[in-house]
């Protein structure tokens, strides 16, 4: 039995007479890795997330978590392993205060009270919302809600954490902070991280990227491998990092690059070569 999430020949459609949203999809998420899933709207990304924690079930093929098939019988076990944060946090608040809301997940899992109090405070600190413990979730701003929703999942410390555009409403700095927090937790506990995102910096930082297009896995590889396909990426509605675009333009002026740069540091390194070449 392997500790990983596995999709084997997964097909899914929302209505019987509708075309499939996912077509014969195969991939896996290893323990401890960070995988970014990208794709245009309607490419099937969110459906994948929902299949991972049993909000939906595969029509054909199998989704399994640590060797356990995701089905109506296993769904509660699965959800202990797989924590999920959605894009719109309004759909997932249950508590009347931020504190209650974060405690909710732990209550479901029978965490003792003292431990719970500590974890609520700790996870709120992690997302820099410690002064909001007694606030009403629905009165927070969009970005603050997203922070609280993430704290709620961090408190349960799942084996797999799915973030479905869960930072879309944060400002760029806040997004990086939250991601760093999640990364720290991931490294400490060997948690796997699956982020569904359009944020290019986030994609560049992931270990592996799965590109979805029209319900199929279009490409799978490291960020560098993915962004080497600049033209075809834009043909399926996706963007490439600023540095990759600039690289492409500079090639037009005869500049050659040893390694395709993906971030500012790598670009500067390449430019030093240009600068010092005799």
């Amino acid at each position: 039995m392997k500790d990983r999430i596995e999709f084997e020949g997964v097909t899914f459609r929302y209505q019987e007479d509708a075309p499939p949203v996912l077509k014969d999809v195969d991939f896996f998420i290893e323990k401890g890795e960070w995988v970014a899933i990208i794709g245009h709207n309607g490419s099937g990304k969110s459906t994948i997330a929902k299949l991972m924690n049993g909000l939906l079930f595969a029509e054909n093929g199998e989704v399994s978590v640590d060797g356990m098939s995701v089905n109506p019988d296993s769904v509660w076990e699965i959800r202990k392993k797989v924590g999920m944060v959605f894009q719109n946090p309004d759909n997932q608040f249950v508590g009347t205060t931020v504190r209650d809301d974060i405690a909710f997940g732990m209550e479901n899992q029978g965490v003792p009270r003292e431990e719970m109090v500590e974890k609520v405070a700790g996870s709120l600190r992690d997302v820099q919302m410690e002064t909001y413990e007694n606030h009403e979730p629905h009165r927070l701003s969009g970005g603050q809600k997203q922070r609280v929703a993430i704290a709620g999942v961090l408190a349960i410390a799942p084996d797999y954490m799915l973030l479905d555009e869960a930072t879309a409403m944060l400002d760029p700095k806040g997004r990086q902070e939250i991601l760093k927090t999640v990364r720290d937790v991931q490294e400490k506990s060997n948690m796997s991280l699956v982020t569904i995102t359009h944020d290019l910096r986030e994609i560049v930082a992931a270990d592996r990227v799965i590109v979805m297009n029209k319900g199929e896995v279009w490409f799978e590889g490291t960020p560098r491998e993915v962004f080497a396909h600049k033209d075809s990426l834009s043909s399926i509605g996706l963007d490439v990092p600023f540095v990759a675009k600039l690289t492409e333009e500079m090639k037009q002026y005869g500049v050659s690059f040893r390694k395709e740069p993906l971030n500012h540091e790598e670009m500067v390194e390449e430019l030093w070569n240009l600068h010092s070449t005799k």
Partner: protein
């Protein structure tokens, strides 16, 4: 239509344990026909600010002037209807507010409420659909059978059908894919021009602010922190970083180039190809290019 905020303070739940001052002594002038981007850290008061524009919120102290309409602390608002007819707000995730059986009915809901006659409504619905670039045959469909991006366009069409003079956009592209984001921002810009709208955009995207806005307002903890033309504001990198904001990536990159190579390249919205050319010639061997 011009907007003026005059020393506006807004406090949520005053006198309760939840009391929270979201805006503090904020003064702001948005000229008629301008495109203003409002930027700020999460919780800086952006959404509170825009809810004053159509009097969904009333200042705790100070006043807001929208065209001839004045919203003042402690005074009952008269004639709210006409204010709300002229100020269209596209809230975050507006597609969550769709509810009618058909796209046509949903778009018609606003004007119908304001007593616009049937024929005029039909015209406005067609025009609004065209403006958001949805096909006419979509009118009879249920909005709930559409994709997320299409649903958002329907919701926006509903706002446009009111024929607003002021259009307020609260992170209108959140959750759209990159192509969808660009298409939507371009769409708003062309509406801004063709309808001569006064546009207020709340965004986290420095890139969008730089591309589309004439003026940028930076909020921090409920106060106005900076205001000016985008390129002028984004030059003040240190001040922005102090309030946890980044500058557009291209400016950040050019700053790094200056630090590393001592080569300073002025950014004035030149296309990427031109920038690449400048970089190549300034950083490369001189005799190759001169």
């Amino acid at each position: 239509m011009e907007l003026t905020f005059n020393e506006v303070t807004y406090t949520y739940s005053p006198g309760t344990p939840f009391e929270f001052r979201a805006l503090e002594n904020l003064s702001l002038h948005v000229p008629s026909g301008s495109y203003t981007a409002i930027i700020g850290h999460t919780g800086s008061g952006k959404s509170t600010l825009i809810q004053h524009i159509n009097a969904l919120l009333q200042p705790t102290s100070g006043s807001v002037k929208v065209g001839d309409f004045v919203i003042e602390a402690g005074k009952k608002n008269k004639n709210l209807r006409s204010l709300r007819e002229k100020t269209g707000i596209v809230f975050q995730y507006p597609e969550h507010q769709l509810f009618e059986e058909t796209v046509e009915k949903d778009i018609a809901f606003g004007p119908k409420n304001f007593g616009v006659d049937e024929e005029e409504i039909r015209e406005r619905v067609d025009k609004a659909l065209e403006a958001v670039q949805l096909p006419e045959d979509m009118k009879e469909k249920s909005p709930f059978d559409l994709s997320g991006g299409q649903m958002r366009r329907v919701a926006i069409a509903g706002v446009l059908a009111m024929k607003p003079k002021v259009l307020v956009l609260d992170e209108p592209t959140a959750g759209l894919d990159p192509r969808g984001q660009k298409e939507m921002m371009d769409m708003f810009y062309s509406l801004h021009e063709s309808e001569e709208l006064t546009t207020v955009l709340v965004t986290h995207s420095m890139e969008d602010a730089l591309t589309y806005a004439d003026e940028v307002v930076i909020l921090n903890e409920g106060r106005k922190y900076m205001q000016g033309a985008p390129l002028d504001v984004f030059k003040r990198k240190e001040e922005l970083r102090q309030v946890q904001l980044d500058v557009p990536e291209v400016l950040e990159f050019l700053e790094k180039i200056e630090k590393e190579f001592g080569v300073s390249i002025e950014y004035n919205k030149q296309p990427l190809a031109e920038l690449a050319k400048e970089l190549t010639s300034r950083l490369g061997r001189r005799d190759d290019y001169e």
